[in-house]
Amino acid sequence: MGMAHNNHAKTLPADLGAPAFVDGWKTRALAIGLVSSVIAALLAFADGSIDHVLRAWLLGLVLTFGWAVGGLALLMVQYLSGGKWGLLLRRPLEAASRTLPLVFVYWLVIAFSLKKLYLWAAVGDVGAALKSGWISEAQAHAIEFKRPMLNPTAFFVTGLVCFAIWGFYTWRLNVLGLERDAASPATTPEWIKRFENISGPGVLVYSITMTAAVIYWVMSLDPTWYSSVYGLLFLVGQAYSVLALSIIVAISLSKGEPFKTILRPTEQHDLGKFTFAFVMLNIYLAFSQFLIIWSGNLPEEIPWYLDRIRGHWGIIVTLDFLFHWLIPFTLLLSRDIKRNKKRLVRVCQWMVFAKAFDLFWLIEPNFKDAARNLHFSWGILEYVAVPVAMVAFWVAFYCTRLQTRPLVQTNDPHLAEILEPEHVHA
């Protein structure tokens, strides 16, 4: 009497390493990276300056930084929250966190080009700059007032401290991740506690350091403007793009083992819902910031929006609203799309593009030639060529990181559940 109830569970394949096709991704990414670099160089010649290369470089930095450090943050959040969706993503997120050296190199380029990008770095003598009409009175006041914070030394020190902290957490979590798998299953409860104890403070430290980073890197492009929600906006934006990337990676990996075995529609659906939540939170924060500044209508704050709405920028911000929110929102509402591998990947690829588009809208109008004046130049095309090249090289590096370890963390109580048929734990 009684059927065998538990013999329907799948078993993990013996080889948990990255499938062979990851090599193909790497080659393709390198090729795209090289071609885009050549295009970027040609565009710089056509434009006759590297100003836009650096601006676009900043976009690429923020995007890849979002994946590397945002991936680290999502990894820590997952250790705190638990959940089967996270067991899937642990190794891909660990791999993303180990791309930090490349992001650091990207950052160095910005750090050594401060004068080309940041008004506060370019202006030495505020009085003379004001007299010559280079900067406005508001800018002169802001640059002088914020000098203790906005100066090259502070930029360097803050950046180095942030990278050191992220590096520390990346190192800890990655080393312990392997040790955990080598340990006996009897020690699992201790490991869970241990990871929680690292990740709890880690998430807090991360939110502070990344707030500092984006204030220096992006917000300070306009020295007069400030927004108290800025760090949170980027934090949520990182979750938005990290989840999109993770879904693309998990589904693409599921064409081969071991992800073929462990990626079930249930967890894919969960990840889709999670992403949807961040699509919502993202527009919530972005719109709150706009509504508050629009309501206040103060001369210290409103020019930032006017720079980004007037002079045809209104077209970009309208498209940004559609690309960044409305399209992912409406598509991710659908249960069928969230459960369909191909379509969900398409939506996530779109979200990565939308994130870059949003960053373009955030970065470019900071500069005098572009504020309230959207116009064509060869240079503006760098916003396509440079980030594509940077992302491509990042992806190639990420592939090598994926190939260095097994793709599944095995010492986890969720592993047995993820191998069971879905109706067992509905």
Binding site: M1, G2, M3, H5, H8, F287, F290, L291, W294, S295, N297, P421, E422, H423, V424, A426
Partner: protein, 180 residues
Amino acid sequence: MPPREGTYGLLAEFDTPGDLVRAARQARLDGWRRLDCYTPYPVEEAAEAIGFHRNKVPLVTLVGGLMGLVAMFLLEMWISVLAYPLNIGGRPTYSWPAFIVPAFEWTILFAGLSAAFGMLALNGLPTLYHPLFNAPNFRDGATTDKFFLCLEALDPKFDLVETRAYLTSFQPVSVVEVEY
């Protein structure tokens, strides 16, 4: 509809969702169409196993949400532009950014209520009586830890003796006959 009499169906009880899903899938394959699964929590595979098709809840939710959006936006426009125009900081009376938040809240509110009540209505609730309540094991187990498959007497394949033997072949905990 006149009150029905006689047998409503045969109810098989299982201990695990896995057994239920396998039995339901097989029954559907064998041509059963008047059948239903009863579980203490949602088991999506059971719904798929008996050929559950799409329902209208998403549509009801969408229409409800859009109604909320339009209703609130129009209400705000009517108040601010027509009924009680106020000069607030020199802004135009039609200041759409300020209307977004309440309009969004109403979208969510109406969509949520439409989903909840639409689901209840499309489920045929409230229903005060169901024949399955006559089965003591159903009363005790359906909302706690038991999984049930009911093959209904309305199905042309139904035969009290053969169907009982058929259900028994799935090795359930029990098979009971349910009266209307």
